[in-house]
Amino acid sequence: MPFQYLSIMAQNSAPKPPRVLAAPSAPAWCPVTKPLNEMRVALLSSAALRLTDQEPFIPRADLSYRRVPSNPGSGTIIIDHHSGIGTVPKQDPEIVFPRAALAALAENRTIGAAAPFHYSFMGGVRQHEEIENKLAPALAGELTQADVDLALLVPY
């Protein structure tokens, strides 16, 4: 049986009420129309990742995002997320943000290409309306502008 996260998250939230998990009445669905080796792929991470020279995220309530170059040689990744599970991923952000792995799969033509930028934002923020009305459309706009075919979302 998979590990049960929700009960622990509820304990951690107390005395605040547990987080509300919103599910759509029907999941959105965009058919895959290209073979994987022709797709341009971007990563989306809720780990509040950035390069060292980018503006830091403000823990817990930041609704901004960062463009992180997909080239693994472009700089060191910092994780700003406040979660206590961060001690291990901060040793090697690749375990939650597989930028080098995706670049390698582009190199060997498993995917068509990595998009020029990946994107990261602060997970665990409770301002659901702002996320839905501002952050999510902004990220969707970035992906559209970059001609991304596939977005890989890696929750933190």
């Binding site: 999941p27 599970i85 977005a151």
Partner: protein, 94 residues
């Protein structure tokens, strides 16, 4: 919202119970501790293998809301001793 713009999405996550509740269009489950989705630090070949396995599932999804188990286990033989340490780690996260 992203799928609505004609961009397919795939969630690659470790929290099966959360993915079951939020119903993403496509989800690939990795049975690892949260925060270690692609494996232990610096094991590059394992990271790449898990990402490759997730991508290979893409064309198998036929409708929204499906969660596919990638069959990735944190410890050999599916040993679940890691759960005790993770529970303690998370309960410090207040």
């Amino acid at each position: 919202m992203i799928e609505g713009r004609g961009i397919a999405t795939l969630v690659i996550g470790t929290a099966h119970d959360i993915m079951s509740k939020v119903v993403p269009p496509r989800a690939a489950f990795v049975d690892h501790p949260v925060g270690r989705t692609f494996g232990p630090p610096r094991e590059r070949s394992r990271h790449q293998a898990i990402l490759h396995r997730a991508l290979a599932e893409l064309e198998k999804f036929t409708s929204g809301g499906e969660i596919r188990d990638l069959g990735c286990r944190w410890l050999p033989g599916g040993n679940r001793e890691w759960e005790t340490a993770l529970r303690a780690e998370m309960l410090h996260d207040r």
